[in-house]
Symmetry: C2
Subunit: 445 residues, 2 copies
Amino acid sequence: MDTIMIVELLEQRAYHELKEQLGTIYPVDVAALLEELDVKQMIVVFRLLMKEEAAETFSYMNSDVREHLINALTDSELEEVMEEMYIDDTVDVLEEMPANVVDRLLMAVTDTGLRMKINTLLQYPEDSAGSIMNVDYIGLRKEMTVAEAILKIRQVGINKETIYTCYVTDKRKLIGHVDVKALLTSSDTRKIADIMETNLLYAHTYDDKEEVANMIHKYGLIAIPIVDKEMCMVGIVTVDDAMIVMQEEATEDMSRMAGVAPNEESYFGTSVFQHVRNRSPWLLFLMLSATVTGVILAYYENSMLKMPLLIAFVPMLMGTGGNCGSQSSTLIIRGLALNEIEFKQVLRVIWKEIRVAVVVGLFLAFVNGVRIYLMYDQNILMALSIGITMVAVVCLAKMIGATLPLVAYKCGLDPALMAAPLITTILDTSTIIVYFTIVKFAFKI
Amino acid sequence: MDTIMIVELLEQRAYHELKEQLGTIYPVDVAALLEELDVKQMIVVFRLLMKEEAAETFSYMNSDVREHLINALTDSELEEVMEEMYIDDTVDVLEEMPANVVDRLLMAVTDTGLRMKINTLLQYPEDSAGSIMNVDYIGLRKEMTVAEAILKIRQVGINKETIYTCYVTDKRKLIGHVDVKALLTSSDTRKIADIMETNLLYAHTYDDKEEVANMIHKYGLIAIPIVDKEMCMVGIVTVDDAMIVMQEEATEDMSRMAGVAPNEESYFGTSVFQHVRNRSPWLLFLMLSATVTGVILAYYENSMLKMPLLIAFVPMLMGTGGNCGSQSSTLIIRGLALNEIEFKQVLRVIWKEIRVAVVVGLFLAFVNGVRIYLMYDQNILMALSIGITMVAVVCLAKMIGATLPLVAYKCGLDPALMAAPLITTILDTSTIIVYFTIVKFAFKI
């Protein structure tokens, strides 16, 4: 099934066949196909979808396409979509929409219970566990029997979002969990209190969603229960949402590390204007910082006038310093994100980087020394000066590259801000000062 | 529970209490604690663990610690561990160990059936779905009744790795799947053939594990069935393994993007020597490439001697070019990894980048022009020349940064290789040529 086929079926008005074909593909794929149609066609196709598929497809669309659709749908169509969606998807959708669209969507929900639930979830901060949790889960009481529990499951139903772990509460407080597996393999008359597991992993509504995703990853969970300050159970976060969070966080880190302000839309989903806004601030800041480097370089003008050859080594030294620094900062930033490195290990990091820097520095200095010796009339003093500068620059680069992200982390900033662009600009200046100090001393200029 | 407490309990020989305490924490946390003990203590504590916890803890250890442990354990202890581990974890462990250790571990397995299974799995290439799959799953036949199916589940058991989806096969060929949910809500006498879903997602044993992880992510699955060339069911890949793959791939991409050869161990788990080996090749290559930039810069020596001020703008122009290029390359590399961008969209990418580049370039040129006009005695010609160079450099940088990863992808290379370090080195040279061509023309030098 592809866009061309859909357009053909639409032109032939073969709606019945189109509807059948759409039934065989997954909502996430339907959403991708709809995005390639023009608005009118997209709306016709969307109306052909079954109620449940329509709601799921709606949740997978990008926000531009979704807005067109919302404008075209009637209030009762919107109501159907809103009531069929999983509530965590509803909240995601609403968080991305402009205020007037949110109002229209919320007005379409006539079920006041559902509207209250949505409003509660919308109040959690955007990065919190509360904002990605689902409030539908299977709750059991500890005095229930296994037979009663199974009956409840049959009534409530199990779906992708409620999964196969039931949570046991006592006066709304979370006290344990039972897998459907345990229910299936226990006799009907046993009490839930006797078979439940009490060794619980849980998170709080206001915990950072990244931490919650890390817990799910670390412990290999399918879902984690979310409690409020009084330990009352309020919802669950499932592994599929954790995966989305982890991918988003990795994307965010990579963007920040390249000096791009992250946003949640895809590359093509981001407008040219938004791309400009995301990229300009760092470029401007770095451009202005680099003028400092330029001023310092110009300050050594006299040395260069006396010995113009010196300029030839500047790009190499600055480049190597920047690369060494960004290698270290990247490894530390990623280690922090994966909880493999903590701030208290800063001395261990420095000790490791020093040893790496010395070996790498000597190696690069040696190769480069040989090259200079051969290329510039066996000028040993030049080979030596550049070699010493190289070792110093590599050591400095690895130190700064490794410690700045740790310091940022300690200060509550995102370590990813201390990545290549900033490190490089800082190192450019340092490299030039180190270089000219050494060559001025060596050649007495 | 922390290391200090464990050491204290060990010194007091309070083994019983230690054992109880260990029972309350998760294997992944036990593994982290063991890594901080000295080898002798670690072995004592490991022997206190329950059989099942011991096996899971073993699978979470880093490979150094694990090797110490293997050397200390008896053959029968090793056999217990090997037989308790989930088979996909066993394969992961074996893939990381040196050959002699692998031999000892395999010899410890006396169950020939298990040994054959392990050997089969070890033969799949390291990046394939086969290498991360689990061969234990609940298989049903289409002629079974619901009651027979539930009976089978009770016998086989459900665990973290087998999950709640049963796969239906006909002469070993995968023909459908049934959720435990459907079994619970259907009458006992119905046939599996009538209630199974036939709209199947699956992957092949030799598919790239990253693609399989992306499928699990995209469709929000808990597991995906893996089939061989004849569509025979051979195993499943579960969401927890998909998460690990996704995190590893993101880490690998970030390392490559910083010019570091990726390896699977953590930052501290990698030796100094290995860090040097991972980082040196790119540094060496980039250092030597940068000498080309240096030679070209030296070529414009005469212009600089006539007008020494020119050198002051070099770091800023080179820096901005590098930053612009790495912004674009990062966004494209990540978009490719997330399947948001495909090669066939190369023209769309270029069109977007050109527009972004023109706006960003004009903005930076304007700010910088004003600065130069004010700082250098209202030198309009200088402000204009640098401004024009800036726009040209930004456009060039965005083009090269955006297209190189796409070209690498098309050629079957990892796009992450075309990231900041390489892009910057290429752009440094281009920037200098563009800059001096423009100023030589402007100032007739």
